[in-house]
Symmetry: C2
Amino acid sequence: MVTTGALERLRETNRRAITGLLAGEGPMSRADLARGTGLSRTTISSLVTDLIGTGDVVETADRGRPHKGGSGRPPHLVALSTPLGAVAGVDIGHGHLRVAVADRSGRVLAEDTDSLDVDEHGVDALDRAARMVRAGLAAAGVERADLRAVGMCVPAPLDRRSARIRTGIMPGWRHLSPGDELHRRLDVPVFADNDANLGALAELSHGAARGIADVLYVKVASGLGAGIVLGGRLHRGATGIAGEIGHVQVGEDGQVCRCGNRGCLETEASAPRLLAVLQPAYDEQLSVRSVLALDAAGDAGVRRVLSDAGRSVGRALADLCNSLNPEAIVLGGSLGTSPSLATGVRAAVDRYAQPDTAAAVRVVAGELGARAEVLGAVSLAIARVAAS
Amino acid sequence: MVTTGALERLRETNRRAITGLLAGEGPMSRADLARGTGLSRTTISSLVTDLIGTGDVVETADRGRPHKGGSGRPPHLVALSTPLGAVAGVDIGHGHLRVAVADRSGRVLAEDTDSLDVDEHGVDALDRAARMVRAGLAAAGVERADLRAVGMCVPAPLDRRSARIRTGIMPGWRHLSPGDELHRRLDVPVFADNDANLGALAELSHGAARGIADVLYVKVASGLGAGIVLGGRLHRGATGIAGEIGHVQVGEDGQVCRCGNRGCLETEASAPRLLAVLQPAYDEQLSVRSVLALDAAGDAGVRRVLSDAGRSVGRALADLCNSLNPEAIVLGGSLGTSPSLATGVRAAVDRYAQPDTAAAVRVVAGELGARAEVLGAVSLAIARVAAS
DNA sequence: GTTGTTTGTTCACTTCCCGGATGAATCGGC
DNA sequence: GCCGATTCATCCGGGAAGTGAACAAACAAC
């Protein structure tokens, strides 16, 4: 083909507008495409004929309803010949395994949760995760070949280069590369990230942080981590380990932490630590769930402990707020919904951050609860597939 | 004109390609434009005729040399009818006033410094700054009408909405809007930002942080502030007051700070504080300059104090590194070049940040010294003019 | 003066897009 | 069941944009 330069590029641009619209909104009529792109019906017709010729789009068998039930000739719908397919999200938690299958607009088609034994070896858990993904595909009616990518949540920092788990987490997982392992089982690209980052991504796209440019998402659960959203994008740092706020020193002389320092945030405010502090005062066996119930019921002891934990978290976030001046702090993780925790965070931020900075930041609970990580994994998979 | 939609847009795009090229590389021939845009000479000729008709570009009087001194018909050069002009940077420090005039590629054409009396009223200082800008334009041979914008460095946090100085700084400046004031005197857009942000911008575009995506720039001088570069862009925060690290608490029970807290970084590591600590042990009147000389000469006391100050700064930066995982820490400000300070920062980062995070971050001195702020102001002006 | 090179323009031609006219397909009302 | 209304898709003529080839212009080198 003789390169006609600019005109050729123009045509190519318009072709991309069509395929882009079809990718974003699914099958539609030529008339809809004309309205959507602003091009004339004639041009669309010509372009679509081209695209059908090259095999990029196909005319679907079923015809659509004419313009919302009104009268008129029914349109011939056209669609991308390679369907957009689906993505899956896999959330590996300290005690659970959660899988979601979604279409590429983020709509969840199937979702399932299972428990995870701490002693279970990583390899076995990943076998199970792969089976759950396949079951999810079947439940959603998605062909196995239409799975485009998998997002994966790992509750530990990942080395960006080797994609291996560095430390922390359960013993049977160390030095494993969960992404590679799952990739081997499902034969599609697998993108892994840690729980705090994916929680932030989920709240950013579907939850409490929707539309906010600068957000600190803090996951308070078994561990403590932050997902930092700046300028509407997740900040991962130079080597991908940004957001490690668990080892900021907040207690003057607190417990010795596994990192070797003293008074780390993680020793002051993680769920196991809070349960350990509270347990002696209660007869029944406490769990995160029962503690949250007690908090909601107004139990003074629980409120005090959660609020203190919030203060510790807020103490660390206050410094970060001074540096980053965010618009919101979103509290996630199993304890994120506790009003007492939020109260403590708010109090500490007001106390320790600069007044202007504190005034600019809202403190809110996450909206996605335990589903945050798996939804974030789905978002990650969609984002990476779209970028490729 | 009947809107022909896509074709009209195509023509517009190509017009912009021409004006963009002329803006970026100065006057050039139609043949050069054809080579630069990839369009044919015919099209360029047509477009340029259009642009001359609308008055957007003009044909220059002098004809250029034919293709690097070779033979051939000399081209008619065309140029934007509104020349690119120049920008100015104004740096208002605690004791100095510095002005630079630069062309829009950032090349400095004229530069001048003057001292600033702490007691001088802001209005008088701004009068002086405006005179220095005019003198700089004259020295650079730039018409007054060709000044496009002024970037301005203010050593205090600015309220993003009102552009007024909130607090700090000299008494005669409070509640003043330096940007508006200078705008009134020079009648061009004035963009103001604080010293830490502009120092970061300067080191990012011309100095030690060139090409690095995630950088913490710390200015250690009369006050203490950080300019945070993430993803290659300066992060200003939701209300524009990001980077306030001066009031992170680092001393367990240090001095009471003007902010009301105790042990703020600013009370531990600012230049006045260090001079006050050192002065009793020395006979001569100490200054920042003499302290730096003593440091370079190996004076144990000075080294100790500077290194301790560095440790305090590093203590605060370590937490920030854990959160942001930057690639480099650039030390700026009058004390930024001290090796002892850098040693202290390095030690504290290694001590308090997570090992992986600490390993990923380099600690380096800024390369621009006292010129950083004014060069950053120039960069700011250029960036803002280009964006409009 | 001639030759060679580069520039800028003119001309014929192709590609692309648009508006209006035309035919197709369906719904609702009689 | 027939007919107008309505929407969809295509065909056709025309305009707009871009391109290569050809050509005159302007200058350097010989």
